[in-house]
C-alpha cells in the first residue's frame, strides 16, 4: 500500500458493543475520509444510532477503537472529542434565545463579545434565518428549530458533524427541502458528516457513501449508486427501494428456470439445480419500442396500477412466471402505451442490474 498523505477523518476498528446479553454492534470497521458525507441506514434496532453515539462518546464501546484525525479517542469523554451533534428532537435550550443557543459553545471558549455576536450572525445567515436571533425556540417551526440546532452544532467549527435522524420529526415537505439544504451546506463547508437515518431515500439522496446496517453489522458500504444498483446482499436489495423477487432454479450457465419459462441472465456461479432468488427492480424492464428481438420477454394481465404522481407502478400477473411482477413506468408511458387495469402488458427484462442470490442467503 502506498502511504496515504491524508489522515482519515475517522477510523473505527473492530468496535463491538453489548448491552448485557444483547449484542448491539459486532466488530464494526469503517474509515471515513475528510469532507465526506456518510449515512448510516438500516431498520430500527440495527445499531446505527448506537454506533453514532459511540463515535460521539455518549456510549462506551465494549471493545474496539475509535480514532479521530489520527488521535485515539476510544476512552475520551464527549467533551474531549471534536464534533458537533444534531438530534431528532432538536434539543434546543427552551429558556435561551436563538442567539444564546447558537452562542452556547462559543461563550465557554472565552471569545470576545463582539466576535461571538459576529459569529452568531454569520451562522444564522448560513442556515437562512438571519433575523431569528432574538426569538425563543418555542416561537419557531420544527424545520426552523432544526436549522438552529445545526447552526449551534457548527458554531465551534468542529471537524466532524453528527446528525442523529435530524429530519425524522419533520413534515414531508419540510424534510425534503431541508435535505437539500443540509447537503448543500455540508458541501460548502466541506465538513465531514455522519448522518443516521432509517429513511433509505434520505440516505441515497444526501450521502457520498451509504453504510447499510442490519443486526449490529454492516451489510454493505458504497456510493448510493453502488448500493442501489449493485446490492451485495438480498437484505440491501430489499431495504433500499422496491424489488421483485423471483424464485428460480439454475439450469446451466446464465440460465434460470422460473415457473414455466427460462430466463437468460448475465450472472453465473451456480451449479445446475441450485435454488436461487432473482432480484429485479420495477424499472429493470423494457416496455417501449420493438420488443420482439429482446430476450426474456414476458407478458401478463395488469391487475392493479398504483399512481405515485410522475411514476406509476403496474402489478402484472405473468402466467408463465407463476407470479406477479411490479413494473414501473412514467405517467407519460402509461398514457402513450395505453396501459390500464385489466389490460395486457408485454415487456422484456432489463438484465444489466439483475442480482441473483442463492436460496440460503435470501432469508
Amino acid at each position: 500500500m502506498s502511504p496515504d498523505p491524508v489522515v482519515d477523518a475517522l477510523k473505527i476498528e473492530s468496535v463491538h458493543k453489548a448491552f448485557g446479553s444483547f449484542v448491539a454492534l459486532q466488530s464494526i470497521d469503517l474509515t471515513i475520509t475528510p469532507g465526506e458525507m456518510v449515512c448510516f441506514v438500516g431498520p430500527s434496532g440495527c445499531g446505527k444510532t448506537t454506533l453514532l453515539r459511540i463515535i460521539a462518546g455518549l456510549e462506551r464501546q465494549t471493545s474496539g477503537r475509535v480514532v479521530q484525525n489520527g488521535r485515539d479517542v476510544s476512552d475520551a469523554p464527549p467533551a474531549a472529542r471534536d464534533y458537533g451533534i444534531v438530534f431528532q428532537s432538536y434539543a434546543l435550550f427552551p429558556n435561551l434565545t436563538i442567539a444564546d443557543n447558537v452562542a452556547y459553545g462559543l461563550v465557554n471558549r472565552r471569545r470576545g463579545r463582539a466576535e461571538i455576536v459576529a459569529r452568531v450572525k454569520e451562522l444564522l445567515t448560513l442556515v437562512g434565518l438571519p433575523d431569528a436571533g432574538g426569538k425563543y425556540p418555542g416561537q419557531l417551526s420544527g424545520g426552523q428549530q432544526q436549522r438552529i440546532a445545526l447552526a449551534r452544532a457548527l458554531a465551534t467549527s468542529p471537524s466532524l458533524l453528527l446528525l442523529d435522524e435530524p429530519l425524522s420529526a419533520l413534515d414531508a415537505k419540510v424534510r425534503e427541502r431541508l435535505r437539500g439544504e443540509i447537503r448543500a451546506l455540508q458541501r460548502r463547508l466541506k465538513v465531514t458528516t455522519i448522518m443516521v437515518t432509517h429513511d433509505q431515500e434520505e440516505a441515497l439522496s444526501m450521502s457520498d457513501r451509504v453504510v447499510v446496517m442490519r443486526h449490529g453489522a454492516i451489510e454493505q458500504i458504497g456510493s448510493p449508486q453502488d448500493v442501489y444498483e449493485r446490492p451485495a446482499t438480498p437484505f440491501v436489495a430489499d431495504f433500499l427501494g422496491k424489488v421483485n423477487v423471483l424464485k428460480g432454479v439454475s439450469s446451466g450457465p446464465g440460465r434460470y428456470r422460473v415457473g414455466q419459462t427460462e430466463l437468460d441472465l448475465p450472472v453465473d456461479g451456480f451449479a445446475p439445480g441450485d435454488a436461487v432468488r432473482i432480484y429485479l427492480r420495477p424499472e429493470d424492464r423494457h416496455i417501449e419500442g420493438d420488443l420482439t428481438q429482446l430476450p426474456n420477454r414476458l407478458s401478463g394481465r395488469v391487475d392493479h396500477i398504483e399512481y405515485l404522481g410522475t411514476v406509476c407502478l403496474a402489478e402484472v400477473m405473468c402466467e408463465r412466471l407463476g407470479c406477479s411482477m411490479v413494473v414501473s413506468m412514467s405517467l407519460n408511458q402509461l398514457h402513450d402505451l395505453g396501459i390500464r387495469e385489466g389490460g395486457d402488458l408485454v415487456f422484456a427484462l432489463r438484465t444489466d442490474r439483475v442480482r441473483v442470490f442463492g436460496e440460503a442467503l435470501a432469508t
Binding site: R71, P77, A91, G105
Partner: protein, 575 residues
Amino acid sequence: MTGMATPLPAPRIRLSRRILAESLAMHGGLWLVCAGLFVFLSLPLATLLIRSFEDKAGAFVGLANFVQYVQTPALARSTLNTLTFACLTTLITLPLAFAFAYAIQRTRIPAKGLWRSIALIPILAPSLMAALSFIYLFGNQGALKFVLGWFGVATIYGLPGMVLAMSFAAFPHAVMILLAAMALSDARLYEAAESMGTRAWRRFLTITLPGAKYGLISAAMVVFTMAVSEFGVPKVIGGNYPVLAIDIYKQVIGQQNFQMGAVVGLVLLLPAVIAFAVDQQVRRRQQALMTARSVPYVPRRSRGRDRVALAFVILVSAAMLTVMGMAVFGSFVKLWPYNLALTLAHYTYGFEEANVEHAYRNSLVMAAWCAAFGAAITFAGAYWVEKTRGAELLRPLIRLQAMLPMAVPGMVLGIGYILFFNAPANPLNFLYGTMAILVVCTVVHFYSSSHLTAVTALKQLDAEFESVSASLKVPFYKTFWRVTVPVCLPTILDISRYYFVNAMTTISAVVFLYSPKTMLAAISILQLDEAGAIGSAAAMATLIVATSAVVTVVTLAAESLLLARTQKWRVQART
C-alpha cells in the same frame, strides 16, 4: 488491513483538568446522594431492625421480643384497633372523596376552583386540628354533644372521634389522587357507548368506575397508610382506644423500652409496606393507561346531575370550613362554650404558661431550612440520578432508597433515628437534640414525593441537553445552572413549598427527636392539649394553618409573577 499497514500515531488523550473535574463532580454527586440516603435513612432503619432482636443490654435474643409482644394482650389489641381505625377511615373517606372528585371532573358545577381549594385546606393544618375541632363540637363541653346520642355514641373520645378527625385529615390526599385519576378519561369511549344507546348508569359502571379503578385503589392505600401511622389524632381524641403509634410512643418515651418500641415499629411497618407495594403496582399500571393517546372528556350539561353534585360539594365544603373554623374560633374565645368573649389570651399567656412561646419560631426556622435545603438537595439528587452518566451501579441503589420513605411511617423513622443517633458510639451523636437533626429527618421523611416530582419534571426535558452541552464542551454543571434549573424553577418552588408546609405540620417522626430547646409548634399542640389548655392548642394549630396558608398563597403569587417575568419563553411557546 489498512490499519496494520499505516501505523497510527501514538494515542494522545489530553484530558484537561476541567474534564477530570467534571467527571469527578458527576460521580462525586452520585456518591454523595447515595451516602446521604444511606446514613440518614437506611442505617437508622437497619438499627431499628437489629435492635428488635436484642435485649436491653444489646445481646442477641432472637425472636424473644416478638414473642413477648404477641403474649402481651394490650399490645396485640392495639394491632387490631389500628386496623379497625384505618379500615373505617378508608371506608368513610374513599366514597366521599370519589364523589367530590367526580363532581369536579365530570359535571358542570360552577366555581370548581373554589371547592377544590376548600377541600385541600386540611393539608395546611396538622392532622390533629380536626380532632381539636371535634372536641370543641362534641367533646365533654361540646355544643353539639347531644347529636352523639342520636347515633348511640356515648363519647367522641375513642374510635368515633378518631375516625371522623382522620377522615378530614386524609380527605384532601384522596381527593388529589382521584382528581388526577379522573382527569384522564377518553371521550371516545363515552361517545362509542352513547352511539350504542348505553344508559347513563351503565356508562358509569362500565366506563367511569373501571377508569378510576387504579386511582381508587391508590387513594385507599394512601388513606389507609396515613391512618395506620397517625399519631396526633389518636393522641388528642383517642381516649382509651390504644393504637400502635401510641404504643410505640409509650414504650420509647414513657418506659424507655427501645427494644419493644422497635418491635412495635416493625409491626407498624408491615401494613404500611404492603399498602405501599400495592400502590406502586397500581401506579405502574395506570401509567400504561396514560400513555395511550386519548381525547379528553368534556362533561355535558345535565341539570339534575349538576344540581345534586353542587349540593354535595357545598355540603362537603361547609363541613370542611366548619371543622377547620371551629378550632380557629375556639382559639379566640375565652372559655368555650360558656364565655364566648373574644380574647388573644390563648396566644399569649397560654403559650407562656406552657413554656412553648419559642415553638412557633422554631417551626418557622425548621420549615425554612427544609424548604431551602430540602428542595436544593432533592432536585440536585434527582438530577444526578436522571441526567448524568457513569457509576451505573449506584443509580438503582439511590432510586430504591429514594422511594423507601414513602413506605416508612414517620413514627418508625423517628425511632430509627433515636436508636441510631442517640448511640454514644455514633460519631454523628452530636446531631442528637439539635435543630439539624429535625431538618434532616423531616427532609428524609418527605423525600419520596419530592424526588418523584423532581424526576417527573426532569424527564420532561429533552434527554439530549447533556449530550449537546458535552459536544459543545460546556461542563454539565453550567448547563444545569443555565438551563435545567431555570426551566424547572416552578417545580423546585413546588417542592420547596411542599417541604415547608409538611415541616410546619409534621409530628410523627420529630416527636422523638425534639429537645426542650427545639420544641416545634405542631408538637407543642400535644403538650398544650395534655395540659388541658385546649384554647392554646387550637391557637397553635391556627398559627400553623395561617402560616402554611400565607406561605402557599405568597409562593403561588410569586411563582406566577416569576413565570411572567423570567419565563417569557414559556408563555410564548404556547401561542
